[in-house]
Symmetry: D2
Amino acid sequence: MPLTPEQQAEIEHSRSETRQTRRVVAEGLETRLYEAVHCLDHGFVRVVDYMGDDSAIVQAARVSYGAGTKQARDDRGLIRYLMRHRHSTPFEMCEIKLHVKLPIFVARQWIRHRTANVNEYSARYSVMDREFYIPAPEHLAAQATSNRQGRGATLEGEEAAEVLRLLRDDATLTYDHYQQMLNQTFAGETIDETRAGLARELARMNLTANVYTQWYWKVDLHNLFHFLSLRADAHAQYEIRVYAEAICEMAKAWVPAAYEAFEDYRLGGAQFSRAGLDAVRRMLKGEEMDAEKAGMSPAEWREMMAALG
Amino acid sequence: MPLTPEQQAEIEHSRSETRQTRRVVAEGLETRLYEAVHCLDHGFVRVVDYMGDDSAIVQAARVSYGAGTKQARDDRGLIRYLMRHRHSTPFEMCEIKLHVKLPIFVARQWIRHRTANVNEYSARYSVMDREFYIPAPEHLAAQATSNRQGRGATLEGEEAAEVLRLLRDDATLTYDHYQQMLNQTFAGETIDETRAGLARELARMNLTANVYTQWYWKVDLHNLFHFLSLRADAHAQYEIRVYAEAICEMAKAWVPAAYEAFEDYRLGGAQFSRAGLDAVRRMLKGEEMDAEKAGMSPAEWREMMAALG
Amino acid sequence: MPLTPEQQAEIEHSRSETRQTRRVVAEGLETRLYEAVHCLDHGFVRVVDYMGDDSAIVQAARVSYGAGTKQARDDRGLIRYLMRHRHSTPFEMCEIKLHVKLPIFVARQWIRHRTANVNEYSARYSVMDREFYIPAPEHLAAQATSNRQGRGATLEGEEAAEVLRLLRDDATLTYDHYQQMLNQTFAGETIDETRAGLARELARMNLTANVYTQWYWKVDLHNLFHFLSLRADAHAQYEIRVYAEAICEMAKAWVPAAYEAFEDYRLGGAQFSRAGLDAVRRMLKGEEMDAEKAGMSPAEWREMMAALG
Amino acid sequence: MPLTPEQQAEIEHSRSETRQTRRVVAEGLETRLYEAVHCLDHGFVRVVDYMGDDSAIVQAARVSYGAGTKQARDDRGLIRYLMRHRHSTPFEMCEIKLHVKLPIFVARQWIRHRTANVNEYSARYSVMDREFYIPAPEHLAAQATSNRQGRGATLEGEEAAEVLRLLRDDATLTYDHYQQMLNQTFAGETIDETRAGLARELARMNLTANVYTQWYWKVDLHNLFHFLSLRADAHAQYEIRVYAEAICEMAKAWVPAAYEAFEDYRLGGAQFSRAGLDAVRRMLKGEEMDAEKAGMSPAEWREMMAALG
């Protein structure tokens, strides 16, 4: 369960209140505000705040005085033009703030995207919760044999059972010892009066990388799309892709025209190299091509042919 | 007049509409939203959108589930603690978007602050307005004799009159020729059918640096404070300080507790060097000090003594 | 002439000295170091310093202990792989510092690339040189009729002559008045003892946007490639493209393998949308396609067909 | 031992070669280049490359044509002026690249400084080394009772012994299981032919946060100083401070004048608030002050009085 009843109540309370504003409002996102979308076994992602909507992109591109929109149709066309020609600054005019609960090893991958604002739960200051990620059996993938960075078939039988047992036992054991070293239960109660307890900033080093942490993460729409193009991709690690896909749904509700353009030109598109373009040209003229004739490496050729279905 | 009647009407229209939102609302800023605060002779700055308020700073610092505030009193204390200890990330959780009309030479100084999002009116694509900054007589400062970067006394009499005349005549002349080269009036009408008209991206080079441009500028609160600490400072050039001071008022209305902490710890504070601290220590013990005894340069000593009143 | 004899002598002096270093050295760039490559009528760009070479990209990608290179052949393959898959962080491990002299209107476009370090010549502090850009007759383009942002045919005859005359006269006149307001000649000599002279930070507003400024600009290779992909592109304004093309030559001499990959995958490549990929697929199966069938706008279709030759 | 004999040999090899360059050379840093400075029990930090030296700061501040230096004395004065007045851009003209081996929990704190370039050893792609940080007994601090974020007295006797035992046993156990799940020894040899082995990107989640990772980290001098001002501070966690202090020595060897200014104005200086300045003023006039009279919180008063010795 990613949320305690108290947390759920706080969220419900935030959702129950509405206020008047003169700002632009994204209706599609308002209904989802604050709500936690579950990810993995104990994680979630939820929108905590946002600024702007599709019209804000148009308004900035035109540096206009009033609301962005004259006609929704023109706006969509302009947004597609901006996306196609990589005019990224108008997309930076929208901003979103997320609250994310995620395993540490996922957080370490996520934070590599530097153009964002982050406030993480501090394990120097606070005690971490006893929650860790254990993959569902269907996500217990073997190492890929062809690709050093990827996943192969799903583990089965005794091997799978043992992996699950090890992950669960080790996370439990190291967390137990974490508490023991702190000489505290989670509620902060001292266990043994004769002991001082190790500093939190040190004890945390005993926790495994599947322990859950939390952060507030704020990013503009241009950088969010860049994040999603890498992390909602089929080659991204499953455990971060789950979050990226949940955020895709949020973006779609928030800025539908921009998201559609993003899907058409980025997620669903492909970049061709000079040699790739040349190969396509020759194929369109009826020539039989292969990697060698095209002057491409086998891997590059395979990737291009996959993009061409 | 910085605004045409049409622009004023668009702003009034935006101000007249309110919507329901579940987001945090900064009441103090809502009443000022969209409104243009006049700066210099034809410029303005206005808030077009914002995200968060004081409670958002606290909420992020605590990575909490509900609204930031338990008690306003605790919040203020936490915000002051964060400001004092330069914990800057919680302040990055608030964001503001401004629409600014400003002379090009001010824009060139402003843009040196890189951690912000900008969309500027494009002189490649559009025709610039015939509006340029002419200083009021009381701001017609002479070059400082002591400080190569500063302003001295105000120019007077015939010299002042001539400077004003030159600025006005040259801006008018170069703008006239800009239009002539474009072979267009501002409304885009062709003047002489036998001429093609120079490309806008070239014709703009004939305009002087006091011509007004416009942009949307979006920044987080931490970086806004950094901008204000440099540009609302007494050593900043008057023409940018006017904007910074107008933005200070907006920030005060938006995040009153954070702004108060900013005033106390940044705007109204001072940094002392190792030598300066040592000198103060010795003065507190009754010793008579001067620059030489303190091992400080005369300029540094003067700056420190000024901070100490 | 972009350089005075004194400046040329300083550059020659810098070029004449060599020192011992344990750092990686890019032989191809060493021979060009400090040398000014002329751009436009009075501008230049020159490499003032650099860090790393192709091997540094490989070394960072492998987080290795020794020099990057085992075999130049493997390195080239890895660099191409990184470029193709947009693994941008290893390219950030190379850095270059340029000294650029450029017209203000070009500088204003250039500075929109924010992920770089900049130190510009200060017109608050110093007096600007009397140098301004006047286009060569063959670059005196008319406004494009089809594209609001572009250039059309070259102006000719009387219209061209008048444009050149206006540009030259106005830049000269406003510079003369700039000096008059400062009450100084360029060497800093006072002209009229009875006058105080306007502050430099104010007088500069009388200068036109074709006056030359200078800056030091430092950027990592990933962000340099992004800059070049936009500014060395055929759609970039000619006056900035000249600089970008000069920098392309420098990059080629500095990191030949990375530059080759950049040319193949970025400069010479093209991004296809979802609809574009689908259209190519159908064309490869022999179907006759057009914009409408493909569900693409005429402009997008035209752009894709241009990429396919 | 932080380095294997092979790694040590690679480093020695890099150190043994020198090349000719026309670039600025920082003699003080050349002698230390590539050399690993040991930090904690298995970590290190070493300079892999650098760009610029003190003269480069001066050169950029003056936007000059030749080398920065006329007279070393003037340069030092200018550098101090720039530091005192927070003119940060000239310091951004120097860049340094470090190779760091550090425990994951230190890396997580370090990466919060976002304005830097990073390439980390990939645990998706490669197998992590069996090396983890175990604090020396004298750094086994208890949780501070007064400060939720700090360290108190050193643990002793049985409690200390047990903490060390737990840390060591848990890191060993989880690493053993990591290898078992991978079905590989470190050299990549399969242990049990009947098993597929869990994907590396999953198995890594079983490792504790004291396991060592590595990265290349590249940063400009301004941002390096900001990092050092926070992490070489007495309030920083010991485990990151060790690295920061080692880097301070490197910076001192690289840019001695800039480092001296940094020490005088940042490390050894202090920021006073408006209320603090007022209190000092009154104390200098002979008034007896305390927190209440000064209108400061007890904590703030205490911090100020500590700065004043």
